[in-house]
Amino acid sequence: MYRFVQHYFGLAWMALVFLFLYLPLLFMVVFSFNSSRQDAVFTGFSLRWYEALGRDTKIVEGFWLSLQIALATGVLSAVLGTFAAFVLVRYQRFTGRTVFSGMVNAPLVMPEVVIGLSLLLLMVGIQNVFGWPERGLLTIILGHTLLGMAYAMVVVQSRLLEVDRSIEEAAMDLGARPAQVFFLVTLPNIAQAIVAGFLLSFTLSFDDVVISEFLSGPGVNTLPQVIFGYARRGINPTIYAAATLLISVITIAVIAYSVQVARQGRRRAQEAQQAQQTFSDLL
């Protein structure tokens, strides 16, 4: 009896959690195919909101803008995050190390509103003095990179800690200069983490609304900002369609990536086992 309860209670609890997490998404996906404007009643299947999506210039422009920003943020974050991680892992002692480590990590715990607000003040100040930069694409990228870099750094840092330090020494011992050591040995071994850092900051940037809201200028609206604006003026199923497309793209990308990683891991394990096997056969 006790085990019966335990078993089914566990299952039911899990179902409840999944429902709580994914029911809203499911609801949204279903209603993106609704044939009418109705929010609560499913009147029939249609693709009209997907057609409307293509005609909505605000959404299309917002999408391209968000894509540009996310790509730039991803690249910048991955590069800067890698440098920061490298310094923190490989140089155990330098003046200001503790401060540096704290500052790079700060955006992870700082409320986004605070980051956005302070960046806005800074940008306004700079613009007043130098007449540049205009708020828009560039300022949003800078703001997102500040956040994305912290995430990318954490990912790369944990990978760097795993990489055997002695392979870098071995490279140097064999005649590689420090720059060659980095590009020929260190980089190939942390590439996967850098890609992960890129993807993470890319997604962070792509769906960020708070920092974008502070740093965007007139007429510059990222996709999340457009969606947010629509939602404020009453729900439009076009947004459902847009969001559904986004979810499917991200889901497919994430699944493809995980399958690839899992397959690689399995193959590695298999090959290592085979090597051991053939060797013990020889003995």
Partner: protein, 381 residues
């Protein structure tokens, strides 16, 4: 010919590798404390010591990964302390092998050659030659994780020899292999190193490994080299208590010098008087330690006959009585733990050279233990 003779003389005058008064301090701790060492060309020299004795730090200073606090390192007469690791004609085989996981076996071996800008066809030739040497030609296209531990070790060796370094450094070369594989690989490794003819400095905590592979051994403790010598010298004539105790098993008697003659010495200790059939550099009344290796002791149940004793002309000396408290039968030998009257437990090994021989001794037996005066080592420090 004249020239080679001159070269030979020069080599004799100045050793190939000279380590002069090297000191390395980490903060206020001496990792290496004023070490001086000469190594001849073609030698395999082992730095032996337990972990934290400074042997690895010394090796890393030779490779260039650590900068000595003071002192000089001369390789073929040239001071190399100021050179970066990538400028030194020295290559190292790492304990973890440190193979590049993203490169194939072939690319791993070629890595150093490419850095030197060697022409492609020569690289091809050299890598093939190296893989031949370690018998891994058929594995050239594999990645390191597709190899077993022993094969990885050979790739690491091939990679460190590929540039034909003047000096090869081995950091615990067999530490990562299991015991069975280790013994076989020791001799293989020495064979390859000797065929290549490279001078070699290795670091190990495994005395068997050092004894098997090295032409000379330096025993290190707390940043200092205590004794340098051939394996047999280190084992048979240790120069201090630490070395005697560190290498192999040894029985130590505390005692004081009673008679100090030029050709013999008599040392009194709690269980017996020791007759030493050679002079020592000590003075009468001095506190010393007497060391005897277990395999140089004899054990028997009956009293030692005068005939046995007279061969050594030591009647009344080097004989103690005790009780067997432990015995370990190891097949080829048996180790007895014998508790003497003073409470000191000595270990005696007996070679089982006859199938049904004297191994009738067992726990609780009262026995005589004796040894010859020429097998004693007197340690004054």
């Amino acid at each position: 010919m004249v020239q080679t003779e001159a070269l030979a003389r020069a080599a004799q005058a100045a050793p190939f590798l000279q380590i002069q008064h090297i000191v390395k301090k980490f903060d206020d701790v001496f990792a290496v404390d004023d070490v001086s060492l000469d190594i001849a060309q073609g030698e395999i020299f082992a730095l032996l010591g337990s972990s934290g004795c400074g042997k690895s730090t010394l090796l890393r200073m030779l490779a260039g990964f650590e900068l000595p606090t003071s002192g000089q390192i001369l390789l073929a007469g040239q001071d190399i302390v100021g050179l970066a690791p990538y400028e030194r004609p020295i290559n190292m085989m790492f304990q973890s092998y440190a193979l590049f996981p993203h490169l194939t076996v072939w690319e791993n071996v070629a890595f150093g050659l490419k850095r030197d800008g060697m022409p492609k066809d020569q690289i091809e030739e050299r890598v093939t030659q190296m893989l031949d040497l370690v018998q891994l030609k058929q594995y050239a296209k594999r990645k390191p994780h597709q190899l077993s531990g022993g094969q990885q070790q050979r790739v690491a060796l091939a990679r460190s020899l590929a540039k034909r370094p003047k000096l090869l450094l081995l950091d615990e070369p067999l530490g990562a292999l299991d015991a069975k594989l280790r013994q076989r690989t020791q001799l293989e490794l020495v064979d390859i190193i000797e065929r290549v003819g490279v001078t070699c400095v290795m670091v190990t905590h495994d005395q068997e490994e050092a004894m098997t592979m090295a032409t000379r051994i330096g025993v290190m403790s707390e940043g200092k080299i205590l004794q340098i010598g051939k394996p047999a010298e280190i084992y048979e004539t240790p120069n201090c208590l630490f070395v005697a105790d560190f290498i192999g098993t040894v029985n130590i008697f505390k005692g004081a010098v009673e008679v100090d003659e030029a050709d013999h010495v008599i040392i009194g200790s709690a269980d017996c008087k020791h007759y030493v059939s050679h002079g020592i550099t000590g003075t009468q009344g001095m506190d010393v330690h007497v060391a005897v290796r277990p395999e140089k002791m004899s054990i028997q149940s009956g009293p030692v006959s005068d005939a046995q004793r007279e061969r050594a002309a030591e009647v009344g000396f080097n004989l103690a009585r005790g009780v067997i408290t432990e015995l370990a039968y190891l097949g080829s030998l048996t180790t007895y733990h014998v508790k003497l009257a003073s409470g000191l437990v000595v270990k005696v090994t007996h070679t089982n050279d006859a199938r049904h021989g004297s191994s009738s001794l067992t726990w609780g037996d009262a026995v005589y233990v004796w040894w010859s005066g020429s097998d004693l080592v007197v340690l004054t420090r």
